[in-house]
């Protein structure tokens, strides 16, 4: 029976990160962009926990809590901005956010 090695966790982490990244780059809906951003952070969390476990060092796990806190704060700020943006433009699609382009 195959055991689960850190490599597997790393593959899972990078897949999560890649899916999140594609979501950020491709999605038009800002709400989904924010969610994809969370997915990227979670990918990183997985990698950190895996490192922590294989290295018998709690630093990685500790870092995950920080990331979750920061992510919560970031999402709340992001959602607040989104609400404000929706109130002004009646839209949550990214095409409206191009006033600074040339």
């Amino acid at each position: 029976m195959e055991t689960v090695t850190p490599q597997h966790f790393l593959i899972l982490a990078s897949l999560l990160f890649a899916v999140g990244f594609l979501g950020v780059v491709i999605r038009r809906n800002i709400l989904l962009v924010l969610m994809s951003l969370e997915l990227m952070l979670n990918g990183i969390n997985v990698a950190l926990v895996a490192f922590s476990r294989s290295g018998t060092n709690m630093d990685g796990s500790l870092f995950v809590f920080f990331i979750m806190t920061v992510a919560a704060a970031e999402v709340s700020v992001g959602l607040a901005l989104l609400v404000a943006f929706y109130k002004k433009r009646k839209s949550i699609y990214s095409e409206g956010m191009s006033l600074l382009g040339n």
């Binding site: 780059v25 491709i26 990214s94 006033l99 382009g101």
Partner: protein, 612 residues
């Protein structure tokens, strides 16, 4: 005493400032202020002249201090300065009064009298200055005020052009003067007149011909001597009192005064050259004056000729005599210019002498005072011009015969063209409507004429003047008085003016509308009219050489400075901007993509994939 000197200098400046700031629309108040200022200047100047009891007064303070170099602001009131101070303040005051009458109907009186005050300020500055740089500053200021006043009738093409011409031609001379000043500082390490005098005495080997000729460029430009004489006749486009004050009595004479101030820097070769140039100018301007129709241009050429006499006197080593002639010339030439102003004013600004005639009966005071001026300049015995001019001629006869011959020919011409002017203007029949209606002017205008006429008669008796004023002249006058051939010179001088007057009487006693010389000697007439083509030659030079050169420089400037350097560097920055702008698309996804790619790039660098 320095307080008085400072106030005499600042008084006209303040008057000009007040006129400029508050009185631009109140011409009458401005004119009274300016005349009162001139009176104040006269009073303070007389105090300055007599307070020192004939001793040299000098005073200076530091004006600008740079490391190791100090520029002083100071006064040097010695004998020549006292004389010029007297001439400037006295003649200036009379001309201010005359201006009250002459400019009574002018629309821009405030500008005119403000300009006169600026001129008095700058001229007094030249008179009192104790170093070359200060002289240069005021030198430029008189040039500026001369420009301002020539262009008084700036709506006429003639005046606008003349003022520009005067300014530019003066700039050429002043450039040489500036080079001279820099060289003087380079060689002697000082520009103070007193220190320069001591240095030049102490180390005569430092004095070079090139240096003094460079300084003399200032004189050549300002006194309108060959080859920069072309501006003065054109400058007659200004109001007549201005021509009297600036272009006859004081500013053009400042050139001679400058020579006197730096007399110790002149080498014998430079002096000989100046004598020759001056004598040639005396003759050349005489020929030009002989065929002019404009009353003021005749007087302008006559001024050129008399300035030539002064330069010749200086060149012959008789600076005192040059100054003497400067003084008497200031009297009789200001008299004649004001007389011509009186005539022009009475004849509705007609300036062609062939449109006058018979004015003696209608304007007796102007006519007789003018006649005194004519007699004085022609050198009739015992009038002021006789003493100063015959002193120059006698000195030339004994010191340098070729110069004497040229000057003597000039003296005959002087009598000829002056009597021509007198006969055509004041004798015979009136030849135009205005001349028939002419009336004598108000006492405001005839008063100064009478005072100047008296001075033109007695101005030559230097013993009549206080020694404080004429102290600078006495030594050279004594020297000339001890020379030989006095009787011979009296005979020659009398022959010159009697001959000139008789020829003028015969030729011009009864003229019609045309110059009789034009039909009797057409070739000679045309040659004199051409003024030896100086204006044409300069015009050609400007058109053929200077303008193409300027255009060449313009192309070079367009190509290299504005093209390659200014536009070029802007273009390089622009290219970078074009490249950077390509990233700035306005889509949030693109920014995120670039951000992540950038992060990956940093990561790759940190891990060591790229860049090592």
């Amino acid at each position: 005493m320095e307080t008085v000197a400072l106030s005499v200098l600042l008084l006209p400046f303040l008057s000009a400032l007040v006129t400029l700031l508050f009185l631009r629309k109140q011409g009458n108040i401005a004119s009274l202020l300016s005349v009162a200022t001139a009176g104040g200047i006269l009073a303070l100047s007389l105090f300055l002249i007599f307070a020192g009891h004939g001793e040299t007064f000098s005073w200076s303070v530091t004006w600008i201090k740079l490391s190791g170099w100090e520029l002083e602001f100071g006064f040097l009131i010695d004998a020549p300065a006292r004389l010029l101070l007297f001439v400037v303040s006295f003649v200036g005051f009379l001309i201010h009064i005359f201006s009250l009458g002459y400019m009574a109907d002018d629309d821009a009186k405030a500008r005119y009298f403000g300009g006169l005050s600026i001129f008095m300020f700058s001229m007094l500055g030249i008179t009192l200055a104790d170093n070359l740089i200060m002289i240069f500053v005021f030198w430029e200021l008189v040039g500026f005020s001369s420009y301002l006043l020539i262009a008084h009738y700036f709506s006429t093409e003639e005046a606008a052009k003349a003022s520009r011409k005067a300014f530019i031609v003066n700039r050429i001379g002043d450039f040489g003067f500036l080079i001279g000043i820099v060289l003087t500082y380079w060689i002697f390490g000082t520009v103070s007149l007193e220190e320069l005098g001591a240095e030049a005495n102490f180390r005569p080997h430092l004095v070079t011909t090139f240096l003094c000729l460079a300084l003399a460029c200032g004189f050549i430009g300002k006194s309108a001597q060959f080859p920069l004489h072309v501006w003065l006749p054109d400058a007659m486009a200004g109001p007549t009192p201005v021509s009297a004050l600036i272009h006859a009595a004081t500013m053009v004479a400042a050139g001679i005064y400058l020579l006197l101030r730096i007399e110790f820097l002149f080498t014998p070769e430079a002096l000989a050259l100046l004598a020759l140039l001056g004598a040639a100018m005396g003759l050349y301007a005489g020929f030009c004056a002989l065929v002019q129709r404009d009353i003021k241009k005749i007087l302008a050429y006559s001024t050129l000729s008399q300035l030539g006499y002064m330069a010749a006197a200086f060149g012959l080593g008789m600076p005192g005599i040059a100054l003497f002639h400067l003084m008497t010339h200031a009297f009789f030439k200001a008299l004649m210019f004001l007389g011509s102003g009186s005539v022009i004013h009475a004849c509705h600004h007609e300036q062609d002498i062939f449109k006058y005639g018979g004015l003696r009966k209608r304007m007796p005071i102007t006519a007789y005072t003018f006649l005194i001026g004519v007699l004085a300049i022609s050198g009739v015995c015992f009038l002021s011009g006789y003493f100063s001019k015959d002193a120059i001629l006698l000195g030339a006869y004994n010191l340098n015969l070729p110069v004497f011959i040229v000057l003597y020919a000039g003296a005959i011409l002087t009598a000829l063209y002056m009597f021509r002017l007198y006969f055509i203007t004041f004798e015979g029949e009136s030849r135009s409507k205005y001349a028939k209606q002419a009336k004598e002017n108000s006492p405001l205008m005839t008063g100064p004429l009478i005072v100047l006429a008296i001075l033109s008669v007695i101005g030559g008796y230097h013993a009549l003047f206080p020694v404080e004023i004429v102290g600078a002249l006495i030594e050279d006058i004594r020297r000339v008085a001890q020379m030989d051939n006095h009787l011979w010179m009296i005979i020659l001088g009398t022959l010159a003016w009697v001959g000139g007057a008789l020829v003028a009487r015969k030729l011009y006693g009864k003229v019609k509308q045309d110059d009789p010389l034009a039909s009797k000697a057409p070739g000679f007439f045309a040659l004199c009219r051409s003024k030896l083509f100086f204006d044409e030659i300069y015009g050609l030079y400007v058109k053929r050489i200077q303008d193409p050169f300027a255009r060449f420089l313009e192309v070079m400037e367009l190509l290299f400075i504005s093209g390659l350097m200014v536009r070029g560097s802007a273009g390089v920055a622009g290219l970078f901007a074009l490249f950077a702008k390509a990233f700035y698309v306005g889509k949030i996804h693109a920014y995120a993509l670039w951000f992540i790619l950038g992060t990956l790039g940093f990561l790759a660098y940190a891990v060591g994939f790229i860049g090592g």
